[in-house]
Structures are given as C-alpha cells and as structure tokens.
Amino acid sequence: MKKTWIGFLTLALVFLLGTFSRPALADDTAAVQKLVQVKITQVIDLLRDKKMAKPERNKRILDVVVPIFDFKTMAQLSLGKKYWTEMTPAQQAEFSELFVKRLQESYLEKLDLYTDEDVAVDEAVLVKSRIHVRSFLVSKTDKKEMIYKFYQVDEQWKVYDVEILGVSIVQTYRSQFDGLLKSGGIEPLLAKLRVAGSFTVPTAEGK
C-alpha cells in the first residue's frame, strides 16, 4: 500500500515537473531564436556601415557576439575529455588561450570576406535539452545553412558548437586534434597552435 502511494506521488511529481518545465523550454526556444536574430542584425548593420574604421567595427562586433558563446566549453569539446584531463592546468590554460585566439582570428577574417550577403534566421528547434537555431546565409548564387547550437549553463543559453553546411566546427577540430595527439602528443600540438595563423588572406573588396 505504502509503495503504491510512493509510486503515485512520484508519478504526480513527474507530471508536475513536466508541466512546469515544458512551457519554460518552449519560451526559451523563442527567446534564443530572438537573441540570435538580434545579434545577427547588429553584426550585419555594423558590417554594412562603411564609414566606421575597421578596428572600431571589429571591436563592436565582438562586443555583440562574444557573450553568447561558451568558448571554454568549445575548447574542451574540441580537444575531447580524454585529452583535456590528461593535460596539466598550465597546458589547459595555454590550449584554451590559443584555441580561442584561433577562433577569433578566423572569425575576423571571415568578416573581411563579407560582401553583401543576407542572413535569415529560420527557426529554433528544441533537440533534447539543446536549442538549435537554424539560419541561412544568402548570397547571389546560393544559400548556406548555419546552425547555432545552444546549451543551458547557469540558467544561460550559450553556443557550444556551430554547424555550417552540416560541418560541425567542434567535430572538425576533434578529428584534427585527435590525429595530432596520437602521432605527437600535447606539446607538439601546442607548438603547432602557437605558430598557426600567421599568414593573411586577401580581402573580397571589389569582388
């Protein structure tokens, strides 16, 4: 008898939790979609403002974008838990630093290649406990799908991965790092990251 009651109570609790948490997540989905929409609009506006000097523009764009990314998580996931925990705290710190710097440089460079593409935020979907926000980069000749993947941490929704045309940034780094770590080890990898990113790319001006 007692057991039945406990069972019943548990069930009731589960239902209660269910009713409370589901609408909350649905609200979050809409909120996250709006967040992405707002951020993208701000970035595009800044990119189209041809009067602003580039360093100033880049700084402002970073101010817009940085808060929604969880770079530390991205760095850790890109390396993988196994390798991450094998590193000393000093190595972890250096790895994170170099990795985040890479992402930063890469992104700033992509901005230089921007011409007049439009970004359309399509929909946000709840996938398990993650929110995937789908957007399209529309140019004159085609349309590219980009998915921002958010997870909830400390009541915040933060990006932990971005998928472009089905290509996950984190997954791509994982494969590369795995190969390098298997053939070399942590120090050679860090050495490689230290020197990487030392050449510049022509801009798309006058494209």
Binding site: A31, L35, I40, V43, K59, I61, L62, D63, V66, F71, T73, Q76, L77, K81, T85, P89, A93, S96, L103, Q104, S106, Y107, K110, T115, E117, S129, L137, S139, T141, D142, K144, Y148, Y151, Q152, V153, D154, E155, Q156, Y160, D161, I164, L165, G166, V167, Q171, Y173, R174, S175, Q176, F177, D178, G179, L180, L189, K192, F199, V201, P202, A204, K207
Partner: protein, 329 residues
C-alpha cells in the same frame, strides 16, 4: 578481395584523372563568409575587479565532470583564464549573457554538473568517423591539389576577376548551373523528391527563357523557387550505400569511393559532355567553369585553409560531414 578493391579504386582514379577537371568541388565552394559568428576579445568593456572576483566565485565550472575534474581545478576557473585574457575578457567569459537578467546563481551551481559528459556524447570518438585506409596517398594528393589551386587556378581566377565585373561572372556561374538541370531532375526523382523535381523544372523553364539561357535567376528572385542540388553520390547515399573510404581525387579534391563511382553517371547528365568535341575541349570548358566559380570566391580557399590545424584531415572531415548532411536532407 582487398586487391580487387584497390585495383578498382586505382582504375577509378585513373578515369577521373582523365575526365573531369571542373566538377564543382562542393567542399572548396564553401564561402568563407558563411563561417560563424564566433570570437572573443573585447578590449574596452572592462569590469571592476571586485565585480569580476565576485562573479568568478559564484560561477561554477559548466563542464565540471564528476569523475574527471577535482574541485580545486573547478574553482580556479578564473586562474585558468587569467594568463591568457586580460581581466575584462575574463569578465566577459564569466559574465552571464543575461537573457532574462535575473540572478539565479544559487540554483545554477547545482544545475551544472555533468555538462562535459552530456555534451561530449554528442560528438563521436573522432577517428571512428572516417574510414581512411588511403591516408598517405590522400595527404600527398591534397598537397598536389593545393599546389594546383594556388599556382594555377587561383592566379587565373584573379585575372578573370580583374577583367570581368562581378555581375558577368555571376551570370556565367548561373548559366552553367542551369545547364545541370537534367542531373538535378533525375536525382530528385531517384530520391522520390517530387517537390524538388517540380521546382527544378519550373526553375529551368523560367530561367532558360525569361532568364536568358540561365544567365539570370528570375525563378528565385520573383517566385522564390530554390535550386535542389542532388547528384548521384547523394542518391546512392539515400539508397543506403555507405561512403566507403575517403579518396582525394587529382584536381577534383576530396571524395570517397561512393562519390567517385557516382562521377560517371553525373558526367553522363552534363550537357557539356555532349556539346564538347573531344576531351580537350571538354576539359577546357570545365576548366573555364571552375575558374569562373573560383573568381567569385577569391580568398575563400586560403581562409578555409587557415582554419585548419592539419589541412588534410580538416578537408576530409569537412567533405564527409557536408556530404552526410546533404544525403540526410
């Protein structure tokens, strides 16, 4: 068995070497502007040190994993970040993105454990992803293709860009794309994508007439009809054929066994194959097509290359993930 497999592969490589220079390489066509909004650095939004310290204390490590990270490490998040980021950046990393602005840190501390495990599960063990027995050859061929791109294709494309305005090159790009309608139609049908087949047919009809032989794209601009790129490699994938080992083709770039097989039927549905009188002319047209496409994305390849820590596995992964996605769609 293995020998036969290798012979077949080599035979196909030879074939592909012969024919198909400008088979639009989907991977290298990723426009860099498509890469994501991600960065950090924000030199001037500094926060007072006291606020910073308060924040770092109240935040728990989102990636704390019960068995793998001791609490000492967890609490030293700020210390970990400190060496590489000026305090204002640490503040940014630690600062909540404040979606609702409410202060919920107490609950947050309990809600974060297992983050690492949870997210980690979404990503496969890296090396299981790609079947790569030809890694040595593939690496060498990637080097060769890189050379071809940087020293032949790219300089010519830059010259072409200097001579012809963007509008003209875009028109040429569309013209060639329009020509591949038969390929897209057949593969949409083979995958039972009737909507795609219908829209493609509408596009071909409108763009070939009003759009002057496909030079313009009124179907998209006026009616919003999208292209539905499908090829035989994708069709085979939809039918359940696995990708097989990754193979880097000369001139064409990353591919795999399945997609390499699919080149022959793809080729048979390209009008250029029938229009051209002999291989030299065909290769010429394909080369022109490739030069034109490259001219619309100058700097894109270099930028993509710079994103790689190790170029060959990077390209391989980009290709395989992209193909997988296209097949799933």
């Amino acid at each position: 068995m293995k020998n036969r497999f290798i012979c077949t592969t080599l035979g196909l490589l030879g074939l592909s070497f012969y024919g198909q220079i400008a088979w639009g390489n989907p991977v290298l066509r990723i426009e860099p502007a498509a890469l994501p909004l991600m960065v950090m650095d924000s030199p001037e939004t500094a926060k007072p040190v006291a606020e910073l310290a308060a924040e770092s204390l109240s935040q728990s490590d989102p990636l704390e994993s019960l068995e793998s990270m001791d609490s000492l490490e967890t609490n030293s998040l700020k210390d970990q970040l400190a060496p590489f980021a000026p305090p204002n950046q640490v503040a940014l990393l630690l600062a909540p993105a404040s979606m609702d602005g409410s202060d919920t840190r107490v609950e947050a501390e309990q809600a974060t454990d297992g983050g690492f495990v949870d997210l980690e599960d979404e990503f496969g063990a890296p090396q299981q992803e790609v079947n790569d027995p030809f890694a040595g050859y593939n690496r060498a061929m990637t080097g060769f293709n890189d050379w071809v791109f940087l020293w032949l294709l790219n300089p010519v494309a830059k010259g072409w860009r200097a001579v012809v305005p963007e509008g003209g090159r875009t028109a040429v790009f569309r013209f060639f794309k329009n020509l591949l309608y038969p390929l897209r139609l057949v593969n949409n049908l083979l995958q039972a994508k009737l909507g795609g087949a219908v829209e493609e047919t509408g596009r071909f009809a409108v763009n070939s007439t009003i759009g002057i032989l496909g030079l313009f794209d009124p179907a998209q601009a006026w009616f919003g009809w999208e292209a539905h790129d499908e090829d035989f490699g994708q069709t085979l994938g939809v039918w359940g054929v696995g990708s097989g080992p990754h193979i880097v083709l000369p001139f064409l770039g990353p591919s795999n066994l399945r997609d390499t097989f699919a080149l022959a039927p793809d080729w048979s549905l390209d009008p250029i194959t029938y229009y051209a009188k002999g291989y030299p002319q065909q290769i010429g047209i394909w080369t022109f097509k490739s030069v034109n496409a490259t001219s619309l994305d100058i700097g894109g390849y270099e930028s993509l290359k710079k994103d790689a820590v190790d170029f060959y596995p990077f390209l391989r992964d980009v290709y395989e993930q992209n193909r997988k996605k296209k097949i799933e769609e």
